[in-house]
């Protein structure tokens, strides 16, 4: 029998028992529905995570640290041994840890590494306050602007090189500083103040004395707003969405002012080493190895992405397992349905054998029927998942504040593979009934009442 004839005959047999076929296919559809949603959610989560990483880190930069444990997981349940040579203590993620800082000599050394075009310490300036005339004072953070960021702007524009005493104001500060709109903020002056840390030391020992002291060293600077950035859904945290941005030199200058006279002066937890032609992964990896060879810890954006997506993959694996269990359970339904089909069509099988149909073709007929049930279940399940998922995507994304990102991202290739795999698994489930049909004695089959 030609393959096309077997397929047609299988289809006709399935249509003859519509209810049974649909019910069996629906059992498979439940598992497929779960798996399609899992794949969609996993795609969405990975893309969102990658968006966050790509929006907050320059992919051509390497994050360098002197501390060997900064990028690795430490057992936080065990106390860390004190090392007098480290000389500084830092709070990191809420815990107290002793870390090694990079100094200017380290920065200079890293800058000489082959393939590294520039090195910039990773610094953000904690502002004493930010204000404008007639408005309240707010605390804030000033960070260096990197051209890879390309934030969505509500007003103004960002030049190739940000001039001194100009900044990008985040949307969150607009009403706080008394601006009626983003456009009205452009060209307006705001004042930023930083305070030297040596004066703060007295605060920790005698707060009242410090507050009344005239020794408090602080510096106020005037900045002109050149652009207003929209609150990004890809901010690492809510706090970073309130960062003000200016050029690196000014951030460094203010940072030096804050820490001058302290042990933290010109000491940095991490630095960004920009790699020449860093979009080329080989060059990025080579530079990473060279810096590592000089005794530093190095992490690339790819490493960060891997770390995040690894976590997502674990969750995805667990949910996929549940989906697979549902599919395996439904396959017993396919086996059962096909056995019933063989029993009901015993005489038909006998006739086909008497007319010269080879047992391989008989077996193929039932295997294809099982495969078509799997195919139908796969199509129903994935179509429902895509339909419902697409309809609910805007509401879910809005609820989770994902901005323009979607929680569920369906990829046609993945769904196609899933459906094909399901059909193949269903064929596998149909093997035993097909074998039974193929082995039927035609005479006995024709005698069956």
């Amino acid at each position: 029998m030609l393959f096309i004839d077997i397929v047609k005959r299988s289809l006709r047999n399935l249509l003859t028992s519509k209810a049974r076929t649909i019910l069996t296919a629906l059992a498979i559809a439940v598992g497929t529905f779960a798996l399609t949603l899992t794949l969609g959610a996993s795609n969405g989560a990975k893309e969102y995570a990658n968006n966050i990483v790509r929006s907050n880190f320059d992919p051509t930069e390497l994050i360098v640290s002197k501390d060997p444990n900064l990028f690795s997981r430490q057992d936080a349940t065990k106390p860390q041994v004190y090392n007098p040579s480290f000389g500084s203590i830092s709070t990191f993620g809420g815990e107290t840890r002793q870390v090694q800082y990079l100094n200017t000599a380290d920065i200079a050394k890293i800058a000489t590494t082959k393939g590294v075009s520039s090195v910039q310490p990773a610094i953000t300036v904690s502002l004493q306050y930010i204000t404008r005339d007639g408005q309240k004072k707010y605390i804030g953070t000033l960070a260096p602007y990197n051209s890879y960021q390309k934030p969505e702007l509500l007003a103004g524009s960002i030049p190739e090189k940000i001039q001194d005493n100009t900044l990008i104001l985040p949307q969150g500060f607009l009403s706080a500083l008394g601006f009626s709109s983003a456009k009205s903020a452009i060209g307006q002056n705001i004042r930023l103040s930083v305070q030297n840390q040596t004066s703060l030391n007295s605060i920790t020992t005698n707060p009242l004395a410090a507050l009344n002291s005239s020794d408090n060293k602080s510096q106020e600077s005037v900045f002109k707003v050149i652009a207003v950035s929209a609150t990004a859904s890809t901010s690492i945290s809510a706090a970073t969405s309130l960062y003000l941005y200016t050029n690196i030199n000014q951030v460094e200058s203010l940072n030096n002012y804050i820490y001058s006279g302290t042990s933290s002066y010109q000491k940095y937890l991490t630095a960004y080493a920009k790699v020449t032609d860093g979009t080329n992964l080989t060059k990025l990896n080579t530079a990473q190895s060279l810096i590592k060879g000089e005794g530093y810890s190095v992490q690339s954006v790819v490493d960060t992405e891997k770390l995040i997506t690894q976590f997502i993959s674990v969750i995805e694996g667990i949910v996929t397992l549940f989906g697979l269990i549902a599919i395996i359970a439904s396959l017993f339904g396919v086996v059962n349905t096909m056995y019933i089909s063989v029993l009901q069509r015993t005489r038909e099988i006998g006739l086909m054998k008497a007319l010269g149909m080879h047992r391989k073709d008989i077996s193929r007929l039932f295997k294809i029927e099982a495969g078509l049930i799997g195919l139908l279940g796969g199509i129903i399940g994935s179509a429902l998942a895509v339909g419902i998922g697409t309809a609910l995507n805007p509401a879910i994304s809005n609820k989770l504040s994902l901005g323009n990102s979607n929680l569920l991202i369906f990829k046609a290739s993945q769904i196609l593979i899933l459906i094909v795999v399901l059909a193949l698994i269903a064929i596998f489930a149909g093997l035993l009934p097909a074998r039974k049909a193929a082995k039927l004695d035609p005479i006995e089959a024709l005698r069956t009442e």
């Binding site: 030609l2 004839d5 038909e348 008497a354 007319l355 010269g356």
Partner: protein
């Protein structure tokens, strides 16, 4: 020509062994009409099953045009049956949910006849049994006589050399039974096939050119020439 030589069929083993056919030898000429007659359990259906290659003998040979069919490989014997033989059964064995066209198409699909030739062949077969107006009707909607005519159409569609008919009128009233037999004998003449009928109806046997009487698995008598 079909040559049956010293055919024996034993079911079961040792104490439960049952000798269904005992040393059967007979020759059937091409394009002849043969009736195998005998009481229920005499072994006539077993003989038909072995001659058609559906069952294997315990010993003996069946040669069709000089070829021992039991020396053929399984796939070859299937292909031989698909192209050279067909069957009409007492219980019709038509697919109720399929149309008359689809029922008659089955042997052509099994014999891998080219798709372009099929329609003409099916229509000719349906016309031969006077069912051309039922092409698209579901087989389940046909009467008993029509169903058996449909089975005959299915049997002749690929113009086989041999038609085996196992009690073809067993489930029909005499009027429809006569119609079916007229049809089968007519086809024997028109398409020139060998017609082998298993029956216990002496009236049908009388119309055949050769009558093989079987009793308790043995040939009791072979008569030639129409009565």
């Amino acid at each position: 020509m079909i040559e049956v030589n010293n055919l024996t069929k034993i079911y079961g083993k040792k104490d439960t062994a049952f000798n269904a056919l005992k040393d059967i030898t007979l020759n059937i000429e091409d394009k002849s009409t043969v009736s195998i007659i005998g009481k229920s359990g005499s072994g006539k259906s077993t003989l038909m099953h072995i001659m058609s290659g559906l069952d294997e003998p315990s010993s003996g040979t069946v040669l069709i045009d000089g070829v021992d069919i039991f020396k053929m490989k399984e796939k070859k014997i299937d292909a031989f049956r698909a192209s050279e033989m067909s069957f009409v059964f007492q219980s019709f064995f038509v697919e109720g949910n399929a149309t008359c066209y689809q029922n008659v198409l089955l042997p052509l699909e099994i014999a891998k006849v080219g798709i372009t030739k099929r329609k003409k062949m099916v229509m000719e077969a349906l016309k031969a049994v006077d069912l051309e107006d039922k092409v698209s009707a579901k087989a389940s909607t046909l009467s008993g006589g029509q169903k058996q005519r449909l089975a005959v159409a299915r049997a002749i569609v690929n113009k086989p050399a041999i038609i085996f008919a196992d009690e073809p009128t067993g489930n029909l009233d005499s009027t429809n039974g006569d119609k079916i037999m007229d049809l089968l004998f007519g086809l024997n003449k028109s398409i020139g096939c060998t017609l082998i009928i298993v029956t216990h109806d002496p009236d049908i046997a009388k119309q055949t050119s050769m009558r093989v009487s079987i009793k308790d698995g043995k040939i009791e008598n072979i008569e030639k020439g129409r009565k």
